[in-house]
């Protein structure tokens, strides 16, 4: 990829899109006007309407004059008492009494809002505070009727409390009078105004922001792909001496930039509306609240990978369309599909944990909410949200570039784009493509994350699933995609010297990894609970015979993870990258799939060794041997105490260094093993 070409495309596309009135309206005018109008307008309209309705006369049906007088007396009896803040709801000054016979019919036809219908089983009207002589009749489907019922009920309830208090006062001795007063239990609300504001915003803002970012990307994504084709400029552009990847990266950077500008303006407009309008006072229900302004830029930064992800998805989808209109039809299901996780993530009580961390859209909604609430202690989950979103974004960009360059997508007469997905049109190939590898990783990542969280330390199940997902699945996929297994999984043979090298690395790598973890623990202390979890795991292992442990925890993961990472993924990345970057990226994926932040560095380092070994040997065999031996060491030492004693590693607690001689020997073994693995001659 040439950055200069990407820059040229980016600048041109940005100018082009910003000169379009439709973009400006969608990006600037809508957010600037929408929120003030929508939020201030609707809140004020609701308040106005509520006040207006409370000023309206309330028609109360009564069975006779006497009942009307009684009710008027109850309503006016407590006029001197202090009323609630929302006083209109607690009073019935504007009540009008209508005497009628069939009161139920009067309520039904709206002539009265609420009615007191006498009970046939209760004729005594003097003891109403103990047992009411009437039934309150109202129509719950009519707003005014419902409001009238609430107001009448409150007035009567308050009156009843007063009468009861007066009666009790005569019965209770003077010294005990205080018992009649309601006790107010003191409460301490520790929420800062920012947190209250954050919580208030957390219900709506994340969903709005995520949807607005997606919506902001829709128009430019269509304009720069299907629009370009419809206007007849695509063919000319494709004849320019620029690789498709550069073109698509330039274009999607513009889409992402527009989406982010839209997100920024939306956020700023919401913030300003809440800050300058009096909406927050209305929404915060009496609590002191302020908009957590400091966190808003942080939210925007978190939105960057998300904007990139959706820009790439929308570009990929819109690339299939031949016209603007067709693209709009294709994009609609994407927005609908995004709405489902977005809504799920914004449900009350849903938190950023479990599989939701890696579900696109839902995780961004939850991350935004966590930031608004100031839940920074959940930073590992937040980091994983950003990492997984970035991974999906990279994959989406690569897929978009691949689709954009396809003849079937570029030219209407080059065959249906369905040919891209039907196996009989696939061309046999020796290696997977980078798109295959990245898509595989992106799909497997959330699935494996979810499974890991569910199975916990169930060793047998875990081993079976590794076999299925990291062994059977990539092999099946390679066969489906017509990729030669020998090429996809580096099934070539290695020399005896290289096998010896792999054996030497396998002997020493575990001790090196352990020592690295100990060194790391001086800088980054092990998280609380990590040691206990390890101990619990070790206890569980005691019940298993050593050969079974070696099979399930060393051989199966060793073989299958190598097939996936040093096989399918590394070979796929190699078709688009130079060897060293491909090995590094594969190692990072490998470490990421272990979902252990504390071990990330060490696992990635092991991944580098395995990748280098595979590249040097041009064979998956040596890294499999290294991986199996690496995994096996822990169980061999646990199951063979005499050996552990001899090596001086009988008591491993994760914080004490290994014997220096052992570390030195391990280092020599790893170094000499890697040297033996080197391919001879120039290549």
């Amino acid at each position: 990829m040439r950055l200069s070409a990407v820059n040229v495309i980016f600048r041109k596309e940005l100018i082009d899109i910003l000169r379009d009135r439709r973009t400006l309206i969608a990006m600037i005018v809508v957010p600037i006007l929408l929120y003030p109008l929508l939020m201030l307008g609707s809140v004020h309209a609701a308040v106005f309407q509520r006040d207006r309705m409370q000023q309206e006369e309330v028609r109360i049906g009564v069975p006779d004059e006497q009942a009307g007088q009684w009710l008027a007396a109850q309503i006016h009896a407590d006029r001197s008492l202090p009323l609630d803040a929302n006083s209109a709801e607690d009073s019935l000054e504007n009540g009008v009494f209508i005497v009628g016979e069939d009161l139920e019919a009067l309520v039904a036809n709206g002539a009265v809002h609420v009615a007191l219908i006498p009970r046939t089983d209760m004729t005594d009207r003097t003891r109403w505070e103990i047992e009411p002589w009437f039934v309150l009749c109202y129509d719950s489907a009519e707003i005014r009727s419902g409001m009238a019922r609430t107001r009448l009920e409150r007035v009567l309830e308050r009156r009843r409390a007063t009468i009861r208090g007066e009666k009790l006062a005569t019965l209770v001795p003077a010294a005990e009078q205080s018992l009649l007063e309601p006790v107010l239990i003191p409460v301490l609300n520790i929420a800062t105004p920012e947190k209250v504001g954050g919580s208030m915003l957390g219900h709506v803002l994340p969903l709005v922001l995520v949807l607005m970012t997606i919506t902001g990307a829709v128009y430019p994504a269509i304009d720069l792909t299907a629009g370009e084709r419809e206007r007849g400029t695509l063919e000319t552009l494709m004849v320019a001496p620029v690789p498709v990847l550069d073109l698509i990266v330039g274009k999607f950077l513009v889409v992402a930039a527009v989406a982010l500008i839209a997100a920024t303006l939306n956020l700023a407009s919401i913030g300003a509306t809440l800050h300058f309008g009096d909406v927050q006072a209305l929404l915060a229900e009496g609590h002191e609240a302020s908009v957590p302004m400091a966190v808003l830029p942080l939210i925007l930064v978190a939105m960057v990978p998300f904007a990139i992800l959706f820009s790439a998805i929308l570009i990929a989808v819109a690339s299939f369309a031949r016209t603007f209109k067709e693209a709009q039809n294709y994009v609609m299901p994407v927005i609908m599909a995004a709405l489902i996780p977005a809504t799920a993530g914004s449900l009350p009580g849903v938190e950023l944990r479990g599989v939701l961390i890696v579900i696109p859209v839902a995780n961004m909604v939850l991350l935004t909410r966590e930031l608004l609430l100031g839940h920074y202690a959940n930073w590992p989950a937040m980091l994983l949200v950003l990492a997984s979103t970035s991974l999906y974004a990279v994959v989406a960009v690569v897929v978009a570039a691949r689709l954009f360059g396809q003849e079937a997508v570029l030219f209407a007469d080059a065959g249906s784009w369905k040919t891209l997905f039907r196996r009989r049109f696939f061309v046999s190939r020796r290696w997977p493509s980078a798109t295959h590898a990245l898509l595989f990783v992106a799909v497997l990542f959330p699935i494996w994350f979810h499974i890991q969280g569910q199975i916990g330390a169930r060793i047998g199940l875990s081993s079976g699933l590794i076999l299925l997902l990291f062994g059977v699945l990539p092999i099946g996929l390679a066969r489906y995609l017509k990729i030669e297994l020998r090429g996809a999984f580096s099934l070539g043979g290695a020399s005896a010297r290289q096998w010896l090298g792999a054996f030497a690395v396998g002997l020493g790598s575990w001790a090196m990894a352990y020592e690295l973890l100990v060194l790391q623990s001086h800088v980054l202390p092990m998280p609380a609970g990590f040691a206990q979890a390890n101990e619990a795991f070790a206890k569980q292992l005691e019940a298993w015979p050593l050969p079974l442990l070696l099979l399930t925890l060393a051989v199966v993961p060793g073989v299958c993870e190598e097939l996936t990472f040093r096989g399918f993924v590394l070979n796929g990345l190699r078709s688009a990258m130079r060897p060293v970057p491909a090995i590094i990226v594969t190692a990072l994926f490998f470490a990421g799939f272990h979902f252990l932040l504390v071990r990330f560095g060490v696992t990635a380092a092991l991944g580098l060794l395995l990748g280098l070994a595979c590249w040097q040997a041009r064979s998956i065999g040596p890294p499999i041997l290294m991986h199996v031996m690496h995994n096996a060491w822990l169980f061999v030492l646990t199951g063979w105490p005499a050996l552990a004693e001899t090596l001086g590693v009988a008591e491993l607690n994760g914080t004490d260094h290994l014997p220096t001689a052992l570390v030195a020997a391990a280092a020599v073994l790893v170094a000499s093993g890697m040297a033996l693995l080197r391919r001879r001659g120039h290549y």
Partner: protein, 265 residues
């Protein structure tokens, strides 16, 4: 300059079969030469030009252009090509000057030299009056001049012109034809696809008649007359096409199977 050897392009059909849009096509075009690729609709002209310009990958055969193989050096090949069609759109929201600078930059030209080249083209094609207006506001003739300038902005040695006068009025047509002659005289290799036979007759040094993806006759006008008989190119064309129509079955290949990829290997 342009060498096409045994080009094959196979497309899948909706019913699961395959059809060859280009079927074993070979020809070459030298510097200072206009080669006319003639054929009825669906003869495979546009597909051939797309293969030559690196937009499509051939199913079989080989193309070298300005010394580069299209399959292995697509960017170098594209750098050597000026591509022009009548249907080519312009960026409506850019001015011709901005558009020319954009394509010059895509070809790797930067700075003062690039701006100088753009100004030179604007002057040469008499575009000064509209060079800074938005392309969306230009007349058809002004657009076509802008398209010509775009095709020439990197001063490529090869021009690929796909029906460049299709649907244009007489005045604009004349501008294009003068431009093509001028470029030939400047030593460029020009491949012209057209079905305006008069145009081909007056412009082309050599002509290839394409029918159902195959070259059915090739040569200068004199040799075509010797081969086929009639005087006018229109008559030659009709005679050849009708004759082929009677002789040949359409080149439909067997239904696509698991091993369809081996076609052309």
């Amino acid at each position: 300059m342009i060498q096409a050897q045994a080009l094959i392009k196979v497309f899948p059909t909706p019913d699961g079969g395959q059809t060859a849009a280009v079927d074993g096509l070979s020809f070459q075009v030298g510097p200072g030469e206009i080669y006319g690729l003639l054929g009825p609709n669906g003869a495979g002209k546009t597909t051939t030009l797309r293969i030559l310009s690196g937009l499509m990958r051939p199913t079989g055969g080989r193309v070298t252009l300005a010394g580069y193989d299209v399959a292995t050096h697509p960017c170098e090949v594209k750098r050597a090509i000026g591509f022009l069609t009548a249907s080519t759109g312009l960026y409506q929201r850019l001015s011709p000057r901005e558009l020319l600078r954009y394509f010059a930059e895509l070809h790797g030209h930067r700075g003062q030299a690039m701006r100088g080249r753009v100004d030179e083209l604007i002057e040469w094609l008499d575009m000064g009056a509209f060079a800074d207006l938005r392309c969306g506001a230009l007349s058809t003739g002004q657009r076509q001049r802008t398209s010509i300038a775009r095709a020439l902005v990197a001063d490529p040695p090869v021009l690929i012109l796909d029906e460049p006068t299709l649907g244009l009025d007489l005045m604009t047509n004349r501008v294009i034809l003068e431009f093509v002659r001028g470029q030939r005289d400047a030593g460029k290799a020009i491949l012209l696809s057209t079905h305006y036979l008069d145009e081909a007759e007056t412009l082309c040094n050599r002509i290839g008649l394409l029918h159902r993806g195959r070259l059915v006759a090739e040569g200068d006008l004199a040799s075509l007359r010797r081969q086929v008989g009639p005087e006018r190119l229109t008559d030659i064309f009709l005679k050849v096409v009708e004759q082929r129509h009677e002789d040949a079955e359409p080149p439909v290949l067997p239904a696509a199977g698991e091993d369809h990829a081996s076609v052309g290997r």
